[in-house]
């Protein structure tokens, strides 16, 4: 899945997805949940790591 496609599905800009991948932005819980669901994972911790 491309960044643009993921951004479109979860309702954010591609720039936001890029910032997430580069650890430069912390998503809201809702956005984290949406991304986790789109990526087919069951829990948020499978996609995001709390540091």
């Amino acid at each position: 899945m491309t960044q643009e496609k993921l951004a479109e599905i979860v309702g954010v800009t591609r720039q936001t997805i890029i910032s997430l991948e580069q650890n430069r932005y912390n998503p809201s819980l809702l956005l984290a949940y949406k991304i986790t669901k789109v990526l087919g994972r069951k829990v948020i911790e499978d996609v995001f790591v709390l540091e």
Binding site: G11, T13, Q15, T16, S19, Y25, S28
Partner: protein, 141 residues
């Protein structure tokens, strides 16, 4: 209303407002400005001409405001916009306060009041908006 927010994006580095990102947006801007130019060029600035300009400017102004309020932005855009606008506001308030301080001190020296009421009203208007916003947000959450 008339213009669609999807035709534009928020200005981030070149002031306030929006800039077209589609051909529809550019056509919209052209059509919004064209009547004002035509009225100015082809009709004298009599009462009717002034009324036409004011009415068209109001229509365009309200549509611009509607576009700005509904510009597409995600949570990251909203956070960035809030921080940038807050910083800009603090700079404006600082400069206005310095301006008032200068005017008050000049007034004391000269012995004549020279404080610009517009600056004072601007600061109090901003304060009122801040109070109303905080009351609304406290009740909302």
């Amino acid at each position: 209303m008339i213009g669609k927010p999807q035709w534009f994006k928020r200005r981030k580095y070149t002031g306030w407002g929006f800039t077209p990102v589609t051909w529809e947006g550019w056509v919209y801007i052209f059509i919004a400005i064209l009547p004002l130019v035509l009225i100015r060029v082809f009709s004298p600035m009599n009462q009717m001409g002034i009324i036409l300009v004011v009415v068209w400017a109001l229509v365009v102004g309200f549509d611009f405001a509607d576009i700005i309020l509904h510009l597409p932005k995600d949570e990251r855009d909203m956070i960035h916009e809030a921080i940038a606008e807050r910083n800009a506001l603090w700079m404006i308030i600082t400069v206005l306060a310095i301006g008032i301080g200068y005017q008050v001190s000049s007034s004391v020296v000269v012995g004549v009041s020279k404080v610009d009421p517009v600056i004072v009203v601007a600061i109090f208007a901003g304060l009122l908006v801040k109070i109303i916003s905080n009351v609304y947000l406290d009740r909302k959450d």
